[in-house]
């Protein structure tokens, strides 16, 4: 499943797997999904221990799909490991490790292949442990792949949280929700603040936006109305 097909089709959701109490937390990839990208992106990326993934600019990944030209082939004698050096002209060559059985076709230099695999780092150099390798069946795949790389970059860039009011902050609230809650927390009287007072305080939003936010927050239980439907306080655990 491609990275952008997760998250209910909403876009590029980069979800984390495994919670705090997960005993396999250190082993499992935190970022699920496959990133279609260039080899240069992988080579430029740095591994983050904290997030258990590779990061470069707006990209976070562990599994990638790349397409490139085989430059070198190295077969283990009597072994099951084949090593390919792949070049997709993005600037840089990456090593692909492919553990195979004997049934696969042997791949030759100067042929294009598609590789899906996990990025690993060893001695400061990134390489890919391939889950899947296949020869290009059509040159159209190469064009599609190039377009996908650009598309993935664009979509992920747009998905990354911004200071736009409709995007979520780290605690899951939007900018306006945070503003309303923060203001309500400063209330010292039992009746809290009225809609009018809140609107006056939050000059960057109009009263309609404030009312909608209050309705949402009270529906979720973060705030409650007091003396009448226009006065609010935050609930205790906020």
């Amino acid at each position: 499943m491609a990275l952008w097909e997760q998250g209910g089709g909403n876009g590029f959701q980069q979800r984390k797997a495994g919670g705090e109490g997960d005993p396999n937390n250190g082993q499992r990839s935190a970022i699920k999904g496959v990133l279609t990208c260039t080899i240069r992106t992988i080579l430029n990326a740095k591994h983050s221990e904290a997030e258990n993934c590779f990061i470069y600019k707006h990209f976070k990944f562990n599994t990638v799909m790349i397409m490139g030209l085989i430059r070198d082939v190295n077969h283990e004698v009597n072994g099951s490991l084949a090593t390919y050096n792949l070049d997709d002209h993005s600037g840089g060559v990456i090593e692909i490790k492919w553990w195979h059985d004997d049934s696969g076709e042997s791949l030759k230099a100067l042929t294009y292949v598609k590789v899906v695999g996990q990025v690993k780092v060893f001695s400061g150099r990134a390489h890919i442990v391939a889950h899947h390798i296949s020869r290009l069946q059509s040159l159209n795949e190469l064009v599609a792949h190039s377009i996908e790389c650009v598309h993935a970059s664009m979509a992920i860039r747009k998905q990354t949280p911004t200071t736009n009011g409709t995007k979520t902050n780290r605690n899951g609230f939007t900018l306006i929700q945070n503003a309303v809650i923060s203001f309500l927390k400063t209330a010292t009287t039992p009746e809290g603040f009225s809609v009018t007072e809140i609107s006056l305080q939050l000059k960057q939003f109009n009263e309609n936006q404030v009312r909608q936010t209050l309705e949402f927050l009270s529906g979720e239980g973060h705030i409650y109305s007091t003396t009448d439907d226009d006065h609010f306080r935050t609930a205790n655990n906020n």
Partner: protein, 114 residues
């Protein structure tokens, strides 16, 4: 290994001196064996000079040329990639041409690594 820009015929001048990748159709291989004429995805004709003797290439073949644009708007090429006929049988050259031109409009994503 540097980044090779995907270009078509009309972009050659713009990329003078830069490493490029061009997919096109071979129109002619010169008798010398080191030079070929390539028809690009936007129906322009360019000259490709190879450092090695050109093998396995015939007129009508679709190939990828990797090299640098020289000061005569020809390609000094170090690698020619050939394909099996099944791989290029249904190749949509026009789609490729559109993609190549489209990439120029999105440098932030096409050239995210530069």
């Amino acid at each position: 290994m540097t980044h090779h820009y995907r270009i078509n015929g009309s972009m050659i001048q713009q990329f003078s001196g830069k490493p490029v990748s061009i997919i096109g159709t071979v129109s002619k291989v010169h008798p010398s064996g080191n030079v070929l004429d390539l028809e690009t995805s936007d129906q322009q004709h360019i000259v490709v000079r190879s450092s090695d003797h050109i093998v396995d290439v015939s007129p009508g073949n679709i190939i990828e040329v990797l090299g640098e644009v020289d000061n005569r708007n020809q390609i000094a090429c170090d690698t020619i990639v050939t394909f099996e006929s099944e791989q290029t049988a249904n190749f949509d050259m026009d789609m490729y041409n559109q993609a190549v031109m489209l990439f120029q409009h999105y440098p932030q994503d096409y050239l995210v690594n530069l």
